[in-house]
Subunit: 474 residues, 2 copies
């Protein structure tokens, strides 16, 4: 019996129109990256497991797809390992004890040595260290490739999706942060997204807040809590702060920041006062102020640029600027993110290399463009011209003509058999053909070829030369 | 201790210049596919194992990368399964008995349910059946995506590599075969490969040969043997035919075909006589003759098109035309292949759909272009203009200017700090920057900006407006 065809949950087939629309997004992002002097790299889809594991925390490790060794993958396993493990692991992974997880992990390490990349950042760090002698620093790379995560599939969450990243490593210059604000603005303006906000913060400001509130050692707890303001509201944040043991005095000190209002200048002024006693906090203010001032000087197309003191985005990663972009009224969360990190390559042996980078969420941008109906007309996959087929000799004539038209850039096709005209026109319709050429024996003899405009229905007679000229000007 | 960074054997990192060169190849192929009315699709990197397994023969199955289920993948395994299997499988896979392979396979099926695609053809067949109601037939698709094979890594053989396929399904028209000859010729001519041969044959001719020699039931053995003529020579083929039990009479009948000489017309004439008693053989001659005649009418840029009666390319697959392309004097085997197949989608439940398709081997084409030094100059990843940085105020000025230049399509960059000029120029060199702009306080005040051509070493003074004009015309 034939298999009923399907694909794994959380993956997608892309039909021609989907590909055209996604290509439009990727090309737009790529062209802006390139104009800022970023160059492309690509890394393998799978890395050694040791490159990836342990870099994303326990939750991340669980979501990494591991690849089974080929051949007899059991040859490195002893009977006792397995029986020992199996008696312990007849359960949901989440219910396993940490010791059982270790047993399972030890078996995994022996039956698998490669894993699909989880993001583009860790492979990039590995790449920079491995090829450091072939690169010139500051190294500005962009990378547009798929990543894989064993997340439970749900709406807008896929197991395979593209990331579009640009990073600079080997410089702590704030000018690159200024550039990234411009890049967000230019890409999203080019994509015609009507209104969007670039949120910006600085990890040093968050450190300053923890310091000023007398809870410097609870920096991570505080920022993780504050980061949820959007989702859980002020009360939720205060609740979490209490749970984490942050003192009531500290909470009282921090709380006013949740509702910081006013222009960026006004917010900066408030924060400068708030952080007056924190050296690192003031440094953060200074950096952020520089980026905002330069952005003001350079100008912005469409973005609203907003200092958001509650923005943290996975704090243990970023060390300076933090970015996030949201499209207004789209019902979709953040569509871009990024920030500065100071020791990304350290784990692979190259210390003290500062970097800053951003990422565009292509799938979410796709959803925004779909919701607002913003894809340009020419992403409707189509054919410029279909030659109807009236028989072998006519087809040969049309094949010659289509070869000449392709040479001047016209996408065209000859219907493959002399089927009924109705069928051929239906095919032209289905393929969104803009024109159909009707060339039978009469037309060849008279030299008057018939060209039908499929949008207007108009039909005109043209000589071969006129047809060429028509499409040259098209 | 830091990990020493590396990647799995058989995989590659692509540096910026590699990506530029590969993109050049992909774009060239894509533009020709598109001009012939092919539209792009993409399928997920991993498919359900059941979609892939059993489609490529036992050897193929062994080379499919399977993905370990996430979470507690052992939960579907009983202790007895494993102990039973383990006592049997402490060996090389190739030394396992077929029963042990089955045991291992049964475990694999429970700890893995997905696998990385092995080629683009089977996923395409699955796609066509799954989306048949959304497609219009004949459906012409192209697909340029990576595939993965657990082959033992060696020179020019990778575990991850791209395939560039174009197929038409839903028509048996020979016009598409004519098109594919044109497509081979146009892509490889555009890529500037100096000389190449498109070999063409027809499976029906091979069937006719087996029939005429009285060994119709040994068709596969005969064609598999003949297909090796290139590698093992005439004697080798005869030896293999004997081993397969092909009669001496049949061998005597077939042997003269190994050294078929002359023009395509002469070869066709010889074969028409040879196959005079075989209906299917003559049908093959007729089809092939049509394709060659139409090709003659349409004209060819650079290709040598040659009827090769020994060409088989994995016979159990093709049913009509068979194609293979070789670059002359390149020391590299075939760079493209393809042919007609009649029931690709049958296994997924859609019967009697004829198709024809071709594939470009991007990695081998890359090697040919490298060997002949044929990559265009502009695939040397570079930057058009680097602004030197003399300090904050100068940098701000340069950032503004670079924003204007990017708007007119100039890729440019501002050096991120006011480092020593020597260092900045070295960076410009490393990045292959074509120009460096030198703008300090004096230049800003006088309005005479200095622009240095990095190829010629010439330096000229330009106003801001002149600089814009200079690059507009660039």
């Amino acid at each position: 019996m034939a298999q009923k065809p399907s694909i794994p949950n959380g993956t997608r087939d892309f039909l021609p129109q989907d590909v055209a629309r996604r290509t439009y997004i990727f090309d737009t992002i790529r062209s802006v990256f390139k104009s800022y002097g970023f160059v492309p790299i690509e890394t393998p889809s799978f890395e050694l497991s040791s490159t990836l594991l342990g870099k994303y925390g326990d939750e991340g490790d669980k979501l990494i797809f591991q690849i089974l060794r080929s051949g007899n993958y059991l040859s490195k396993i002893e009977t006792s390992d397995v029986t020992d493990t199996l008696t312990h692991t007849q359960n949901d992974f989440d219910k396993l004890s940490s010791e059982d997880r270790k047993r399972l992990g030890s078996i995994t390490n022996r039956i698998s040595e490669k894993a699909l990349r989880y993001d583009l950042t860790v492979p990039f760090a590995r790449f920079v260290v491995q090829h450091q002698n072939e690169l010139s620093f500051p190294f500005k790379r962009y990378q547009i490739q798929p990543v894989w995560r064993a997340d439970r599939p749900q709406r807008s969450r896929y197991q395979e999706f593209y990331q579009c990243d640009a990073d600079v490593v080997g410089s702590d210059s704030l000018l690159y942060e200024v550039d990234f604000v411009q890049i967000f603005d230019q890409v999203l303006t080019k994509l015609n997204i009507p209104a969007f906000t670039i949120l910006i913060n600085n990890r040093k400001i968050l450190s300053g807040i923890a310091e000023v509130s007398g809870e410097a050692d609870k920096l991570i707890d505080i920022t993780v809590a504050i980061d949820k303001l959007d989702k859980v509201g002020e009360e939720g944040v205060v609740k979490e702060l209490r749970e984490k043991g942050v003192s009531e005095t500290a909470i009282a000190t921090i709380s006013p920041l949740f509702t910081l209002k006013g222009t960026n200048e006004e917010r900066l002024a408030i924060m400068r006062t708030f952080l007056a006693t924190s050296e690192i906090g003031l440094k953060g203010i200074e950096e952020l102020e520089f980026v905002l001032e330069q952005t003001e000087i350079l100008g912005i197309e469409r973005a609203n640029v907003e200092f958001d003191v509650t923005l943290a985005r996975g704090l243990n990663y970023y060390t300076g600027a933090i970015f996030e972009v949201k499209a207004h009224d789209s019902g979709i969360g953040s569509i871009c993110g990024g920030g500065r990190y100071d020791d990304l390559t350290g784990v692979f042996g190259l210390k003290n290399v500062s970097g800053v980078g951003i990422s565009f969420g292509a799938d979410r941008i796709y959803d925004v463009l779909t919701n607002f109906n913003l894809f340009p007309e020419d992403t409707n996959a189509n054919l410029t011209l279909l030659f109807a087929n009236f028989g072998d000799e006519d087809a040969t004539y049309c094949m010659k003509l289509s070869k000449q038209l392709r040479a001047i850039g016209v996408d065209c096709d000859v219907y493959p058999s002399n089927a009924k005209m109705q069928k051929q026109f239906k095919y032209a319709d289905n393929r969104n053909a803009q024109y159909v050429a009707l060339i039978g024996e009469n037309e060849r003899n008279s030299g008057q070829l018939q060209l039908k405009n499929m949008t207007t229905g108009e039909q005109q007679a043209l000589t071969e030369a006129e047809l060429m000229t028509f499409f040259q000007q098209h």
